[in-house]
């Protein structure tokens, strides 16, 4: 089941690797040099959280702002002299707390997730500007950077290991813990989920807290990599996250999630970006290419569900 659902993204990934390597043998080595591996790991982590949200037939537009907020707070706490481990814990808690806040907006006010997280995106971004007065906070902490970009076992960046651990945890939660199946059930048919005795409010809070935690982690990793933090961290990440989920084969109609596909799609997008770069294609074309890939992915999803025949693609 897992293999069949992910076949398309795996094949696309292999094709991209082969094509770019043929075009330029330096393609594979260039991935690491340019920090592509680290940024891919970071976008994978938010994408994994987003997979659960989309499987629940919801959306979270605030992940980018949560990334920025946790990075900024962490930078300021480090500057204030708090120990690194405590800063990391607090940064993660802030992410989880903001996610929980999104969940509460949705559950208590009955807002659609799209609207609730659009509002919180704006508010969190406003909070960032108030804290920083629009300025960049620098981080001088080599140990913090090493936790993310330091090489493990010779040449694997630590970020990859972090992403692998997150994948293992979320995979277990999604497929092996009742909570994960309840997330999918709510996305598949909320009426049947309620009929089966599932507490929809509690599952919603849990899922949004989890993606908040993922976004908080991504933010900390970005801050550690860049050694500074400002409100541009995470900008646009929500769209990248949604794109990798959809390209990875998870339907926007909810009910199912393809975590492995999400990982493949995150790597796919990053390699296309690196490949275009090394093939001397102007980075101005990147967004054009990504948009086209997203449209193809949505068409494939529509064909698979058979909605194209009726001439409508309800999202």
């Amino acid at each position: 089941m897992l293999a069949a659902d992910s076949a398309a993204s795996v094949i696309a990934l292999i094709a991209v690797f082969v094509i770019f390597t043929l075009l330029n043998p330096r393609f594979l080595t260039s991935l690491n040099i340019n920090g592509v591996v680290v940024s891919t790991s970071i976008s994978t982590i938010t994408g994994l959280g987003m997979t659960l949200i989309i499987a629940m037939r919801a959306l979270d537009l605030s992940v980018g702002s949560i990334m920025g907020f946790s990075a900024i707070v962490a930078a300021q706490l480090l500057a204030a002299g708090l120990p690194l481990w405590l800063v990391i814990v607090l940064g993660l808690l802030i992410g989880a707390g903001l996610g929980l806040g999104n969940g509460l907006l949705i559950v208590l006010l009955g807002l659609p997730s799209f609207v609730a997280t659009l509002a919180s995106l704006s508010m969190i971004l406003g909070g960032e500007l108030l804290i920083t007065h629009g300025e960049t906070v620098t981080i001088h902490n080599a140990e913090f950077a090493r936790l993310v970009i330091g090489n493990v076992l010779g040449y694997i960046p630590a970020a990859v290991l972090i992403a692998l651990v997150v994948f293992a945890i979320i995979w277990t939660i999604f497929y092996r813990v009742p909570f994960g199946r309840h997330v999918a059930a709510i996305g598949g048919d909320i009426r049947a989920a309620i009929g089966a005795g599932i507490n929809v409010s509690r599952v919603t809070l849990g899922a949004f807290t989890l993606i908040g935690l993922c976004a908080g982690l991504s933010g900390l990793m970005t801050g550690a990599e860049l050694q500074n933090a400002d409100s541009t961290i995470g900008a646009g990440s929500e769209l990248t996250a949604i794109a990798v989920v959809v390209i990875g084969g998870t339907s926007l109609m909810g009910g199912r999630g393809n975590l492995f596909g999400t990982v493949c799609a995150a790597i796919l997008l990053a390699s296309i970006k690196a490949g275009l770069n090394i093939a001397n294609v102007s980075s101005l074309y990147e967004d054009l290419v990504f948009g086209s890939i997203l449209i193809i992915a949505l068409m494939v999803d529509g064909l698979r569900r058979g909605t194209r025949r009726k001439g409508m693609l309800v999202v």
Binding site: R176, P178, A184, A185, A192, G195, G197
Partner: protein
């Protein structure tokens, strides 16, 4: 009969003790009481059938017993202990399992995930899928579902999904099983397998409450039967000590003893109209596994009824004629020509119009006002003698629309404060009249009506009947599908009876009684 009701009050310690006992159940909705203090006792190891016409209160009492609704009054005992269910889950935990009438499976999850949804076996927080599979294999074999447990439920047939729904209810431990129309989507073989399971559960001491419109199932399976009418319990008796006529009599009450509706004056069909070809004629029409070899005809100016229980194919037949369902075999003649209606658009070209069963979902446009709902699709240039054309981009004058709306409002007596009223602010009856107005503006020659008075209050019903008779008087052929037999007897000159997708009888309403038709429907 009155003496038999006292059976329920036998003291505890009887040979078969009460597994579940509900006493004095009352429930009202919007100030209208629908259940007037009903008592019901389910004994361990019995199949107890619950019967009654639509609206008798069967669903309400099932919802009270399964925790979907809370009673306004009365109490429920489970194995002698008073219980109060907060939600379906607490009822399930206490040992009350329900097979709902509507499918409640998640289409995107697998069979085994659906069966254990909300009650997954876990250890250390992780789901024990191996254990779950082990438990479910035997149940699925018994039900005859031979398929991969990892199959996504949404890819299975409706009957198989229904079997998964049943498996969901009978996996694990429970003392009471409530089955609400469990066989409506099943074929004969599947029904037989289900009966075998029910008999096995009965032997294991489970109390089964069985709700079905198919009376033969009840006499085949049940030990005792309770009949509800208008929210009151009419009888409870052992099946062996009663018969079909008694049960039908209890369901219908005084209505069954009344002389059939022969005394009502019925407008005769003008002879001139019946001489031409029938406006609607079906020859051996079959449709997937829901309709088989249907032959019927409706003449211009004639009102013909369509009767059948839930799942008999009544709704599907009107949908097939209107092009909402593919017809696999057979011929549809409309106004004397063979018609291929694979889309409603084509049916409209043959001047066929359908008023759908679910008015809110398929009929009205809730966000539009009354005028817009009525004139939707209206073409003032349309000559009633010819089929309608695509209106395309040709503009229509507001004045023409307004005139048409005002005419219809007066003719059908649509009560609203003005044409700009939101359609949803109108009563059900007036919404339905607006749909009749839309139909009238399309100049139909064949009008298909599905449950024309559902959710309509008594006063507006008569007005809608008058409207239907008005349509017929203008020479329109009308096919009415309804779950209310009294309505069909009131309106139609003939009634076709459907059972399990087949036409089993054609009854002339003059001289027919509700009981006769009910027997034909039940088989």
């Amino acid at each position: 009969m009155a003496g038999l009701v006292n059976d329920v009050d036998k003291p505890a310690g009887d040979a078969s003790p009460a597994a579940m006992r509900a006493t004095g159940m009352r429930k009202q909705f919007d100030g209208v009481e629908v259940l007037h203090g009903v008592d019901l006792e389910l004994r361990a190891g019995e199949v107890h059938a619950l019967l009654g016409e639509n609206g008798a209160g069967k669903s309400t009492i099932i919802n009270l017993l399964s925790g979907r609704l809370r009673p306004d009054n009365g109490h429920i005992e489970l194995l002698g202990q008073p219980v109060s269910f907060r939600n379906p889950m607490s009822a399930r935990r206490a040992g009350v399992s329900v097979i709902a009438q509507e499918l409640e499976v998640v289409p995107t999850l697998t069979i085994v995930e659906n069966i254990f949804l909300g009650a997954e076996p876990t250890s250390y927080g992780l789901i024990r899928w191996v254990e779950a599979r082990r438990q479910v294999i035997a149940v699925l074999q018994e039900l005859g579902v031979a398929t991969d447990l990892n199959r996504i439920v949404g890819t299975m047939s409706v009957a198989d999904q229904q079997l998964v729904e049943i498996a969901k209810a009978i996996v694990g431990r429970f003392r009471v099983l409530i089955m609400d129309e469990p066989t409506s989507a099943l074929n004969l073989a599947e029904t037989e397998r289900l009966f075998k399971i029910v008999r096995r559960l009965r032997a294991d001491g489970v109390a089964v409450l069985y709700v079905s419109h198919r009376l033969w199932e009840v006499f085949d399976l049940a030990d005792r039967v309770t009949v509800l009418r208008d929210g009151t319990r009419i009888m409870t008796d052992e099946v062996a000590r009663t018969d079909l006529d008694t049960v039908i009599g209890a369901m219908l009450g005084s209505k069954s003893s009344l002389a059939p509706h022969a005394h009502l004056p019925r407008p005769a069909v003008p002879a001139a109209m019946t001489q031409g070809p029938p406006a609607l004629q079906l020859e051996a029409v079959s449709c997937a596994d829901v309709l088989r070899d249907i032959c019927l005809s409706v003449c211009p100016g004639e009102v013909v009824g369509l009767a059948g229980v839930l799942g008999s194919g009544r709704t599907e037949l009107t949908e097939a004629i209107y092009g909402l369902r593919n017809i696999d075999a057979g011929t549809v003649w409309l106004n004397g020509v063979v018609a291929a209606t694979s889309e409603p658009k084509q049916a409209l070209c043959h001047s066929v119009f359908l008023l759908p069963e679910d008015r809110k979902l398929e009929g009205i446009f809730g966000h539009l006002d009354v005028r817009e709902n009525v004139i939707l699709g209206y073409d003032p240039a349309h000559n009633p003698e010819t089929p309608p054309r695509e209106r395309g981009l040709r503009p229509i004058s507001f004045a023409a629309e307004r005139t048409a709306f005002d005419q219809m409002r007066a003719a059908l007596g649509i009560r609203c404060s003005g044409p700009g009223d939101r359609i949803t602010s109108l009563s059900g009856g007036n919404q339905q009249k607006a749909l009749f107005a839309r139909a009238a503006l399309a100049h139909p020659r064949v009008l298909l009506l599905s449950e024309p008075t559902r959710g309509v209050d008594v006063g507006a019903k008569e007005e809608i009947y008058a409207a239907i008779e008005g349509f017929a008087a203008r020479g329109i052929a009308i096919l009415v599908s309804s779950s209310e037999l009294s309505e069909l007897l009131r309106l139609a000159s003939r009634i076709y009876v459907l059972r399990a997708g087949r036409l089993v009888a054609e009854v002339a309403t003059a001289g027919a009684s509700e009981g006769d038709i009910l027997k034909l429907m039940a088989g």
